[in-house]
Subunit: 270 residues, 6 copies
């Protein structure tokens, strides 16, 4: 496979993504979408929010345009800007404008990381106006009927400076995500990393031990994603203890004592 | 419905918006407008300020140009700037200049969020000069007789850094907004979300309980808008307790204990 | 009246503005202007500094170019900059350069709000050099003999960060402004808002009550401008107590207790 | 006299400026210039540093290029930049490069206010290399033999953040300035403002009283410049007490008690 | 040898770099690469991380594109930007986009030093999407199958402000690096600097002494690289004590007492 | 002599600079250069670091390109940038790229003052890669064999914010500079300023007295450069006490008491 280039609007999810529902999140998302209400996903890193959005995009048959937000993301990055190309000045729609026009799902990941003007640009899209003011173009776009807005954030990480303002959050239907149950998580790990059920269960057990250490020296426990990483290394012949060390322990902490403690946990399991 | 593009000056509100007056705000706005005095709307998020502006725009038969202010909004964003298009440099009026020329209502939402130069650019528009200096064009525009300036802010959120200066606020006639009375709010919820009166009343009761928690763990109570969201989800078949959880509780707080407390309140009601 | 566009240099005040002198400010301004000394106006918001400048501009028969200063105002905004228009690069004078060339009065309102380079650009204009260095053009302009520089600031608002430096202030003749005497203020309110003398007097009495609360919960008392606003609303049929609430009380404070106290004051008067 | 435009390099001081030497500053400056050593002037605002530079420029028959430094002044502002004019890109020398080429005196007033890159750009000019690296042009200019660099700063105002670094100050011959002696100051005031000797003496006496208050409520005493302002107002018919109030007291402080105290001082004298 | 210019994509490592493995890092990197999992290298400066990447690039026969991250590095620096060249506007891929297209190894050294938008731009490349959104071009590139992402950071230096977020680190397989064992380090020093084994051993002994002082006055001990520097100076005739002083002691600290202590250590050894 | 313009690459030092070695710095620099190791010069201002670099450039017969670093110096300033000239966009190498191509000595003076991206751009030049990545050009330059990198910093001035990071300093051979011995310094002063030996000795004695005050009221003692300044003024007829005051005392401090104390010292000597 070589590098392949595609337009965001064409980003239809072609095959059903592997997704295990953890509650009624699918039907609530559908009810919100039926009412054209925007949706907010909350939850820790690596617990499946991105996969859920891919699943819903596949289910609703809409293209999925994802924007990972960061400190320097401005409203112009979302809405668009004039660019000079070949002597001509051309307007280039940003990913949000593309989604609004194409009736896509626009998913703004970790929205609170972005600059404050991005919050405001989504306000008129997130109430019953469903409109995107494009000030540099001098027009307002009323969103296509199919357009859907979703945002995510991780309440555990937010500082006071990076909180979701009430005037923003009180526009969204909010869904809370967490790690799956042990049996479902083992099923996911086995399916994704091609290890047997017993090993997957031990990896999940190990993950739960690290999650119990959250707040007592660990900032965050191991996510489902890390279990899949460890499984994949093991499937390529890396010894389980080494795989847990590299794919999990070293990935969640730098603290020497913590690393030793976690190392002991994995030695006791494998 | 597909995406539709329109000019801000053409943004006439065609149908009478649904608006229930909570006091004499309509007649005071009309007296201020008759004297060409600018108006300041104060109040919490989701209590109807935007809807009131739509209603007044419809009543006064003027186009409504709304600007949601934010940390990075500068005077140039409001007044206009030169853009290079197709080899030519063209001046593009910002939304404020458009409103000044077209005799529209310019509504600057959450004005204190904007950068400080925006305050200053509205000063000569907000006293008896009613003029907009456009320094980059090198001209001054005296506003059309129909032009109307309105701004909003939420006193509850303001920090010392983002306060409305006396030299700004002492130019406006100020209207205070709050949540409607229980019976009116139930009427609004029923009308907007298509649920029956009994359910709407219970949603309002639930909202009032959350509003009483403001300051004791909740930053803000549930707005009228959130009740409408819950109503809409219920109307699509989501069970009331789940709808209250997703549309209201999770939308106003991330705190686990608070969520449990609010959950109990809703379970006792539905 | 439709929107009207004019050049700053043509901003002659055609009709004598209504201005009641509160001391010898007119003759001192004239003596300073005769000596080509720059003038600094100090005083609270809404007490008539802008009106005084309009009056002096009318009296001295010079165009008046006002710049409202703010956090983002740079020296280039005052002096000018190169702009690209229609393929050509053109120099566009800023308002200060226009005034220097045209022999106008340049009035920099709230100068301390501007960025620091603006202070420095006025230094050589504010001593006996009376010259404006235009570094981007590579020239120095010696001001027209008629040119007059005036600045204002409000000592009550300044923080340590936004103080007028001694090297700046020790270049100006300084005039202190305050609210007019009760009888004069009543006369001004009656004249400007078209209410009868008795009502105007009661409005002034109310204003004085709020001014006495300055420092005990109010950041600033009601300015003359707000009394005129209240008068205008009353003249359009708004009941006096409501007019005082919207035009005065809500315009000067957001504090619920303070609002109640001020409300009582107005109820006792009207 | 209308506005007149001139090039910085042509800024020869044609008539001998009125300057009263306060020590051996003239001969030391001449010895430094003979050795091509740069000079640093220290002293409070309004005590005659600028006038001294004009005098030396006249005496040495070199053009004087003055740059008032500020928070936003960058090395490019001093050295030069590319500008696009009429389709062509042209290099425009900044004032420092002009002085270096033309063998002028470059006087950087309040150097510590400028951005840090300005300090560095003068370093190779301020040691025996006497060279200006122009990085954007890709060349180094060795200064004309006549070139002279002088800078000023006011030690009383500097904060820790805006101190002259040892690596900068240890390149200059430093001259300290202060207010002139009483008799000389009276002579200067009488000469410049056209008042009689007795009044000039009383103004100087008044200035000395304010200077004694420095540190006890006054940030800085009245400068010689302010005495000249007061003298000029008096010469136009303003009563002495009023002139002292507007030209001196209000120009040095905003503090109500201090103003009253200073007012009493002036009343006792005039 | 004169200066030679080459394209990043052509940066194949032609000769096997000298690299001594300290554990199973080579096989774990290969297992991660086989699963297309990104890799994070942790460890102190000068311990061989860069050399390891050169070795893996040679082993995997992929070009190596290294980016040294810093405070001002933005996502655009990595992804690319439009540049105007000869009248035409051309898109120029950044080093990350080049690596994604060419199937190279992209090694982001000291990633936490970069601006926050860089973190986000690598997120979709660092999970199973393996895609690079190029927002300014308006396209998404799916990475070539050969593409490999590696990042490094030094946990010892990180402040709270410059920590690797859990949402970033939980995407990587992490390898911890440290100084080699004494015998291996001596072998490396002798090989690289052409000194005899005995001297190399004494240099390593000296290095270990400085490493023991870490935390008691030294921020960091001497790295392997510094030992090679000292060896090279000695090989050119510099006396060992002087070489240790210049190449090691002065390179790790400025503290006079610490320098004296370290000097004594080296005197006792050589 | 008129202003003369030259290219940095042609900056060969034609005559042997006057330099008195204070230790083995010349041979260590030569050994480092023979190994192509970069060099770091440490020491206080005015003690001869710049002169030493001129001397080594003369000795090694390489052009010397000096960059004085400052807060706003970016990697682009060192590496180069695209400039638009006469309708064409041209790449202009920065001083570092010029040195890398021409095999010059690039001397970055006070490197820690520069922005952080400059540190990073020199990292691959300062290890055995000896390569300069020019990201905007999209190429990597391998340095000419003659290229030499040298940097300086003054440990006494550095704050925590402006420290040389271990990952930077552990790439350099470090040379420490200090003031010369008394007899050598007297020789230097006599040679450079054309005063007799006795006077030069007294100036050195005076300098040593000020250096003893370092830390007890003086931030830094008098540098050799200042002694030469004083000598030059004396040679032009300025009395020694006055010369010490202007060229030394006022150049090192603003403190009135300190100035008096230093004045007394000089009076006792001359």
């Amino acid at each position: 496979m070589n590098a392949r280039t595609l337009n965001p609007e064409s980003n239809f999810i072609e095959r059903e993504p592997y997704y295990e529902a953890i509650g009624s999140e699918i039907s609530i998302f559908e009810a919100a979408y039926a009412n054209r209400l925007p949706v907010l996903l909350k939850g820790p890193t690596g617990c499946g929010k991105t996969r859920f959005m891919e699943y819903m995009a596949w289910r609703l048959k809409r293209p999925l345009i994802t924007v990972s937000c960061h400190d320097d993301l401005t409203a112009s990055d979302l809405v668009g800007r004039y660019l000079v190309k070949g002597g001509e000045t051309v307007w280039v729609d940003g990913p949000l404008a593309r989604a609004v026009r194409a009736g896509a799902i626009c998913y703004l990941d970790e929205i609170v990381e972005a600059r404050k003007d991005t919050m405001v640009v989504i306000h008129p899209l997130a109430d019953d106006r469903r409109a995107l003011p494009m000030e540099k173009l001098g027009v307002i776009i009323e969103a296509s009927a199919d357009f859907c807005l979703a945002i995510s954030y991780n309440p555990g990480y937010q500082s006071v400076l990076k909180d979701l303002k009430q005037s923003t959050r009180q526009r969204f239907v909010a869904l809370e995500f967490d790690y799956p149950s042990a049996s479902m998580e083992a099923k996911i790990v086995a399916t994704e990393s091609d290890v047997d059920a017993a090993l997957a269960e031990r990896l999940v057990k190990f993950a739960q031990m690290t999650r119990n250490l959250k707040g007592s020296g660990l900032e965050e426990g191991a996510s489902t994603r890390l279990l899949i990483h460890a499984g994949k290394l093991i499937a390529k012949g890396v010894p389980p203890v080494t795989a847990c060390q590299c794919a999990i322990a070293q990935a969640i902490t730098d603290d020497a004592e913590m690393l030793a403690a976690v190392q002991e946990l994995s030695s006791s399991l494998f």
